[in-house]
């Protein structure tokens, strides 16, 4: 038993979430420091867990000492060890970042914001760490409910967007629960490893196929795969900046992680890719999602909304990459889960800074920002280059693996979709950069008026700037060390096909 680090990762944010209102009662300012403190502890525990996994192999943590499959078991292998560190680090960065932005946007509700923020982190971590199908559902709903609450306090129109998200999200979660129910009926077990062992003899059963269909379609809603993505853009555009910086990168990525888990650790890849045409469906769903996301991103006039559609396209990359069903593509897809979370949080935190400074997040609000906020905008450029896929940013390497995988699999449609979306991202981001440098002759009365004011440095506060620049550095570092991440972590997560 390698200590209690795995459970501590989840329990610290959970308990501190409940204590947060009490601490906020003593002093409202302390809620922020409390959130940062508990998330740093959680991040340390996550790193310790990952280190144990790297040196000593997969950790099985039995809650209350109950043996699986009867008790709930936390299983940490290389894949979710990496995800744990990713989630805690992003949550920590966003928590540090959130102070000024929350004070400005939802000044009267800071204490409750951090309470729900910590609960949200708990939900994400629980989904990632658990080895039990039903436990995963509970954490999925904790994460979703916290997400609804965080989004609903956003700008005008946020409650309506949240309501739509609740309706869609509940359908997704219920489908997942139904899928778990079908698996339970045929196997009598909810432990992932146990189900993995029991299922292969039952693959002829139609109940198992129904379970696959329900699980995957439920997760598709949660990850905002193209036709069922409609809840995402409104919800994430109108959420408070710090909330969208936390939820937009993580919720979709964690659902993608669950999809990878379900396909490889609950079912065996043979069922997923040989007995059923899931692979082909996923590749085409990915192609459609990438193209639709890219085209709709191009049509947006609002920066945050544009990022939301880019997230929709990125979900297509991973779904398609897993569907290609060869080692290279799956490596690329898992690396892309990591990369995209980091890139998206970087861009959304830039959006948050723009909202903090200008009060809005339309594209025209970027006018002249390169002169005013050179550091923020350099972080933006790093994130943008990474989405486009320029080396040495991390986005290039995962796209490269995905391209190679698509060529090996002979899926030319996916190759085309990848290249087209990269080109579209070039247009999207250079349009923003153009506005930012003020080359663009935008005829907008308000900005025209502001443009006459003298330009001077007006950089974001340090508490927002430092996390944003750290994330930008992380984008570069993940790109430079991608080989080590792949051979040290991701290679273990790819199943033998």
């Amino acid at each position: 038993m390698p200590g209690h680090a795995p459970i501590i990762v989840v329990v610290i944010p959970l308990i501190s979430s409940f204590l947060c209102p009490l601490i906020g009662k003593l002093n409202r300012q302390w809620a922020y420091f409390w959130a940062v403190f508990s998330l740093s502890l959680s991040a340390l525990a996550a790193m310790r867990t990952l280190w144990t996994v790297i040196t000593a192999g997969t950790i099985h943590y039995r809650l209350g000492g109950w043996l699986p499959p009867f008790g709930i078991e936390y299983v940490v292998d290389h894949l979710n060890g990496m995800m744990l560190v990713l989630v805690t680090m992003i949550a920590l960065m966003v928590a540090i970042y959130s102070r000024r932005s929350v004070e400005k946007e939802i000044a009267d509700r800071t204490v409750y914001f951090y309470t729900v923020f910590l609960l949200q982190a708990t939900g994400f971590l629980g989904i990632v760490i658990t080895g039990d199908l039903f436990n995963l559902y509970v954490f999925l709903e904790i994460a979703s409910l916290a997400g609804y609450a965080l989004i609903a306090v956003g700008e005008d129109g946020a409650p309506v967007a949240t309501f739509r998200y609740i309706v869609m999200g509940t359908i997704g979660a219920c489908f997942y629960l139904l899928g778990v129910g079908y698996i339970y009926i045929v196997t009598g077990s909810l432990n992932m490893a146990d189900v993995h062992k029991l299922l292969p003899s039952l693959y002829h059963s139609r109940v198992v196929l129904t379970a696959v269909a329900f699980l995957l379609s439920g997760l598709a809603v949660k990850m905002a795969l193209f036709p069922v993505h409609v809840w995402l853009p409104d919800a994430y555009t109108r959420a408070p900046s710090s909330a969208s910086a936390l939820i937009a990168p993580l919720m979709t990525k964690i659902s993608l992680y669950v999809m990878v888990r379900v396909l490889f650790s609950v079912f065996v890849p043979r069922l997923s890719f040989e007995l059923l045409p899931i692979g082909r469906i996923m590749v085409w769903a990915g192609v459609v999602a990438i193209l639709a996301g890219a085209v709709m991103a191009l049509a947006q006039k609002d920066f945050k909304r544009m990022l939301c559609y880019i997230v929709v396209a990125e979900v297509g990359y991973v779904v398609g990459g897993v569907g290609l069903a060869n080692q290279t593509a799956i490596k690329g897809a898992i690396l892309h889960i990591l990369n995209d979370a980091v890139m998206t949080v970087g861009l959304f935190s830039v959006a948050g800074i723009v909202v903090y400074k200008t009060g809005r997040h339309r594209l025209v609000d970027f006018k002249g920002l390169f002169a005013k906020m050179p550091f923020t905008m350099s972080a933006f450029v790093v994130g943008a280059l990474s989405i486009i896929g320029v080396p040495p940013t991390c986005g290039f390497f995962s796209k490269w693996y995905l391209l190679q995988g698509a060529i090996i699999a002979g899926q030319w449609a996916f190759v085309v979709a990848l290249l087209v979306s990269s080109l579209v991202s070039v247009i999207i981001f250079f349009r923003v950069i153009e506005i930012g440098f003020g080359f663009h002759g935008l005829q907008d009365e308000e900005t025209e008026h502001e443009a006459n004011a003298p330009m001077s440095m007006d950089e974001a506060p340090l508490s927002m700037l430092v996390p944003t620049l750290t994330i930008a550095t992380a984008i570069l570092l993940i790109g430079l060390y991608n080989q080590r991440i792949i051979s040290g972590l991701i290679a273990f997560a790819v199943p033998r096909l």
Binding site: F134, V160, F163, I166
Partner: protein, 130 residues
């Protein structure tokens, strides 16, 4: 065919109930009706889980009787007991669903305060006007 339907009637009912809830969520314009549809939808899943654990013919609740003096016969004859696990799972799921219902109603209140209506098309009209 008829026998087939009758022998699985619990699953037919769950599917029917689920579709009623689904229709309510998708087709109704009123937000409260949507929430009610959502609740019916979720209840159908509880129904599905619970009905999957039912056994006929004199089965009871799973209380294991220890006979004094009998050694080593702790093995439980599962055919004697209704499966308790789905019930327990559904207790948790009911808690989750109540929480979802609470959040949905709270958001509906927020929407009502802002637009003074709960009809979706009127809200959309209000939003267009700005």
């Amino acid at each position: 065919m008829f026998d087939y339907i009758i022998s699985y009637y619990n699953y037919w009912m769950y599917a029917g109930l689920m579709m009623i809830g689904f229709y309510g969520m998708m087709a109704k314009r009123n937000l409260i009706k949507k929430i009610i549809g959502m609740n019916v939808f979720q209840s159908s899943i509880i129904f599905f889980y619970i009905s999957s654990s039912v056994k006929r013919g004199g089965v009871t609740v799973p209380i294991i009787k220890h006979v004094a003096g009998a050694h080593g016969s702790h093995g439980v004859d599962v055919m004697q007991y209704a499966n308790p696990l789905p019930h327990v799972l559904m207790l948790t799921a009911i808690v989750v669903m109540v929480a979802t219902l609470g959040v949905a109603l709270a958001v509906a209140i927020l929407i009502y305060r802002r637009y003074h209506t709960l009809e979706e098309d009127e809200i959309i009209l209000c939003m267009r006007k700005g």
